[in-house]
């Protein structure tokens, strides 16, 4: 059951903001970040798979976020948003921190995600 307070908020039509300038909120384990994005176990497996395909690097719920480079954090943020239940996502400055090859890969995933996407540049 949805809490009553949430019924008064227009959360169902809001965009999940994915800003490459602030890619991750937590600083310890990936598990913490996945909790924030409400990632279920099946989505987590898809996230690990996509991250491995794009970055050639293994991650798991126990992975330390400190060990990721700046660009890898941005890719992880994009994948967390894509695999979250959010229907609408606003990506801000996504191309800024990514090399051209990885940006194309993540852009293709976003385009084919079937979600309502906004591309923004701050």
């Amino acid at each position: 059951m949805i809490p009553k307070a949430l019924l008064y908020m227009d959360i169902m039509h809001d965009y999940l903001i994915a800003d490459a300038e602030h890619p991750l909120i937590c600083s310890d384990k990936l598990w913490d970040e996945m909790l924030l994005y409400n990632i279920n176990p099946a989505a987590a497996d898809r996230l690990y798979r996509d991250f491995r395909a794009i970055c050639k690097k293994e991650v798991s719920a126990d992975s330390s976020l400190k060990e990721l480079s700046g660009g890898q954090k941005v890719i992880l943020m994009a994948l967390l948003a894509l695999h979250s239940p959010a229907d609408s996502i606003s990506f801000i400055n996504l191309e800024h921190s990514l090399d051209p090859g990885r940006f194309c890969k993540i852009r293709d995933l976003i385009i084919h995600s079937g979600k309502n996407i906004l591309w923004e540049r701050a």
């Binding site: 191309e95 800024h96 921190s97």
Partner: protein, 190 residues
């Protein structure tokens, strides 16, 4: 008797001149399980612009943080401006600093940080060179007519300044990257 002022044990002699940084050939274990390998020495010289170029995760930021920064942090023959990647925390630090020394300034974004740095540097009358290190900056703000030499070292996927010398980071595998100087940026020329 030896003058102790010139024998400071913590002040390493990494440099070959004012505003220059010498990085010798060898393996640099920048973090556990990841090594940067320089087959040849790289010297960053004042008056030049260097573009650190390579794919995500190839070690550019680690090179700045673990190699360049450690060589330059104890130097007193030059000034250093460093703009960090995803600089939200640095913005807070700059606001705190500006509140003390430039209380009328307003630090909102990266450009304000650049402006304040150059304003502060303009007060220094000693003519020392300045080493500018920028990691994935959204904006590179270098003022014209500066009366001191600049050594600009930047990593970026969106900028490739025309006069840049490329320093390429080429991943060999997940745990090692080769670092070498090249004539042009490979990543952006593709």
């Amino acid at each position: 008797m030896q003058d102790s002022r010139f024998d400071h044990p913590q002040r390493e002699k990494h440099f070959v001149g004012a505003g220059m940084i010498q990085v010798k050939a060898g393996n640099y274990h920048v973090w556990q399980g990841f090594t940067l390998t320089l087959k040849e020495e790289i010297i960053f010289r004042a008056g030049n612009v260097y573009h650190l170029s390579g794919p995500n995760g190839s070690g550019k930021s680690s090179f700045i943080h673990k190699v360049l920064w450690e060589k330059i942090i104890k130097r007193d023959d030059c000034y250093v401006i460093r703009i960090q990647q995803q600089m939200d925390l640095q913005l807070y630090a700059m606001r705190a600093w500006a509140a003390i020394y430039y209380p009328k300034s307003r630090i909102v974004d990266e450009k304000d940080v650049w402006d304040l740095m150059w304003t502060d540097l303009a007060k220094m009358k000693d003519g020392k060179p300045v080493v500018v290190i920028s990691d994935e900056a959204k904006k590179l703000v270098i003022p014209q007519g500066l009366k001191r030499e600049i050594c600009l070292i930047y990593s970026s996927h969106i900028y490739n300044l025309p006069e840049s010398r490329a320093v390429n980071f080429e991943p060999v595998n997940g745990s090692q990257s080769m670092v070498y100087e090249g004539s042009s940026s490979r990543e952006l020329s593709q």
